[in-house]
Amino acid sequence: MIRYLCISVTFLDPLFHGKGDADEPEWPPSPMRLFQALVAGSRRGCCNGDWSKAKAEAYQWLEGREPPMIIAPPARRSAAYTLFVPNNDADEKFDRQDRLAPKMVRTHRIVGGASDAKSGQTLHYVWTVPETEGSEARTYAELLCREARRLTTLGWGVDQAVAHGRVLNDAEVEALSGQRWTAWDAWFAGRQILRAPKTGSLDDLTRAYEAFVNRLSMTQPPKAREPRVFDRAVYLPQGVLPPRPRAAFELPDGIAFRQEDAARIASMLRSLACAASKADTHEFPGGAEVYVAGHVGKRQDNVPRFSYLPLPSIGQEHADGMIRRLTIAEPVGGDGSHARWAQQRLLNAVIRDQEGNERGVLRELWRQSSRAMIRRYVEQARIWSSVTPVILSGFDDSKQTKAEKLVISAVEHAGLPVSAIAELTLRKAPFWPGSQHPRQYALPSYLKGLPSWHLRIVFREPIPGPLAIGAGRHAGLGLFATRET
């Protein structure tokens, strides 16, 4: 049975002043911030007299765990302003007015407030503690529950808070109210990255504290007073997907393919990637045969693998729908290492058709318009429309209702939460200039005969691309783009 260590923190005021990396306002407060606040509470004032080896071990146990889930009330950025605060260095500048230092205040305001029954001003940090870890884990968790009550602030000194800890079961965690944020083991540019403790963080905080207390001795640089040992994790709210890491290439001038041949182009790209992977020691999850070549059984449709996505030109007034750009995308939540491999290994490689004829060279993106065009395929948006048709995995008997059910199934297979969909439109007519009726598209033999539709999906929250669903989603079919950039 799995248990959970839950440390709950209630803010006494709805404003949170904490800043994350890059000096940007942070929400939710990072697990490392909580760790620091817990340690500070445990060692503040007379409480330091109670510090013990057992407590240190409990914190070391906590720092070694995977980053917790954070359940937080919603918060929004508040209006920023600048305070002027006199420095306490009258020995350098005696006049108060000469000692004023600006301090930019950028906060988050918790929405709802203390009286909000649903979420209030309480956050929960939830670590999984499998029962298999034994009684020692339970002892540590219970000790930390008691120590949590010593927390006085989380954030700046004005961010007063109170906390307590509990060991919970599944149902009790499910009942905690607030937006759930989970940590992803990957790096995504532009996403909320929060610090989390790791092995060694406790000792490092002690070191940083000693450096701070001795700062006037000037024997160490100011950076010595900062924590150094921590991990970083991308935190995303539940229902929001991480982006798909990808490699992107552009064909030379004068070379373009018809959109209806998207699957054939994808096949050429795949062959190139397969050849490169065989001549390389790069390790792929499940092996290159699965990840790069896509040789998976029918029952393993969701096994992680590359998607080969030729990108028809769209979005501009004279866009002709021809394919001049190609991407290779990792699955949702990929860590980017395989996309980087593809970018490096395949750059300047020659793609060939089935007969072995050269059909083009993969270059870096060189057209001025390329980045803007690719953004239509990859940026976060709520409304997505298919460029190439979605191939359904079953037979719809030409009935829209049955087709809709198959579409829902296709969405799930693509790793998207169905609950994220607000609206769905199916039709045979294309949504984009340059796109064609589904029957115009060349299909690989294993997809022939399956129904195909153009779709428009409206999601409840923006999701990032590239988005491709359906049985042809790894082969250039069922590719979506957005007009919202």
Binding site: T10, C46, N88, A90, Q160
Partner: protein, 386 residues
């Protein structure tokens, strides 16, 4: 021991379930409910609102200033509501702390003054008015500096807050950082802020009209250029318009003070080898007085707020799990408790020191390297001549 002094002991024990006391007090402008009040203004140059204003957008509450956009700190929400900062945490602390100079409360804290000479006249500075409290330079360069250095040292080395409570108990209440000495940092126990809800910012314009039309009456020659025009305006010899500047806000919602007394931070105060309860009772008493004593109503020109007689203050007792329970205390009971706790604790002795101008001047005259040298070892600044 009397019930009066022990009635809150349950909150002061290390294993207490009560984490904080929270007070909400409703205020209204002295002119009446829908009067215009003037919140503090802030420079908004490096903010999103300031940036939008600079691009020509009309941003409510942002105005054009001589050094860039400035204005009120107002958060606006999608539902049309808004929250405006009326008095910040730091500002509230600076207003509340001098309460302990009032006749009815002055016996609760030691009177610590430092005398200095300003323009040849002796001037007394009360520690309660020093911005950095017990760590302020006025203390660091005084003849009583070492007492405070030792008190901070006791906290740092032994977790013993009693010496500082005998010297500067309000530093425990409002927080202090001995940034130029031991680096001891104590979190505030009492925190207060005033906000107004659903505000509509206004503009105002004004014009100085000289009593005589100096140019029109031929008393002075007409200015020949803009520089001369500006000089005449500066000297009051010309009309001086001040159009469309900050004009306060009209509050359509509440004006509320929200104050907290953090019992967890209070329970981190300890003593060396002694029962910490007397110390904690004393600090609690001061904290309760800080929150219940009638406060000065005049915040700034155009902003005088009085308690809303139609709506009584609300107190809540907050437990560690976030649950809130109704609670109440009157200022009279708070004072009685504070007096009893102070008597039992034995308030520290009054103290007078003198500002050592020579020493401060000597330190000022030091080069950066010399100052670095004198700081090594964490000792207060030393005169090189000693």
């Amino acid at each position: 021991m009397s019930d009066l002094i022990t009635q809150y002991d349950e909150w002061l024990r290390d294993d207490s379930d009560v984490a904080a006391l929270v007070k909400r007090q409703w205020l209204e402008p002295v002119e009446g409910e829908d009067a215009v009040i003037f919140p503090p203004t802030y420079t908004l140059s490096d903010t999103d609102a300031g940036g939008r204003f600079n691009k020509g957008e009309q941003v409510p509450g942002v105005y054009k200033g001589p050094k860039g956009p400035y204005g009120y700190n107002i958060d606006r929400f999608d539902d049309g509501s808004s929250v405006c900062l009326i008095d910040s945490v730091g500002s509230q602390a600076n207003r509340i702390e001098p309460i302990f100079m009032r006749e009815q409360y002055r016996e609760l804290v030691p009177r610590v003054v430092v005398t200095t000479s300003v323009s040849g006249k002796q001037r007394e500075i009360n520690l309660l008015e020093a911005g950095h409290r017990a760590a302020d330079a006025i203390i660091r360069f005084s003849s009583i500096a070492n007492r405070f250095a030792d008190a901070f040292g006791a906290i740092k080395d032994q977790g013993d807050s009693e010496p500082l409570a005998k010297l500067a108990p309000t530093s425990l209440i409002f927080g202090v950082w001995d940034s130029r000495g031991t680096q001891v940092k104590l979190p505030r126990i009492v925190r207060s802020v005033i906000r107004a809800f659903n505000v509509r910012p206004l503009h105002r314009s004004a014009q100085y009209v000289p009593p005589v039309d100096y140019v029109g009456e031929g008393i002075l020659e007409a200015p020949q250029n803009k520089t001369q025009e500006d000089s005449m305006s500066e000297l009051g010899l010309r009309h001086a318009p001040a159009p469309w500047t900050h004009g306060g806000v009209q509050v359509h919602g509440e004006i509320r003070r929200e104050a907290t007394l953090n019992l967890v931070a209070l329970r981190a105060l300890g003593t060396r080898g002694k029962n910490p309860l007397p110390l904690r009772r004393y600090v609690l008493g001061l904290g309760l007085v800080a929150l219940t004593a009638p406060q000065k109503t005049f915040l700034r020109e155009g902003c005088q707020l009085v308690p809303d007689a139609k709506r009584l203050s609300e107190w809540r007792l907050v437990r560690h799990d976030g649950k809130r329970e109704p609670w109440d205390i009157s200022d009279q009971l708070a004072s009685e408790y504070a007096r009893a706790a102070a008597a039992a604790f034995k308030v520290g002795e009054d103290m007078a020191g003198s500002f050592d101008a020579k020493r401060a001047t000597a330190v000022l005259a030091q080069s950066k390297e010399e100052r670095k040298k004198s700081r090594r070892g964490g000792k207060p600044e030393e005169n090189n001549e000693q």
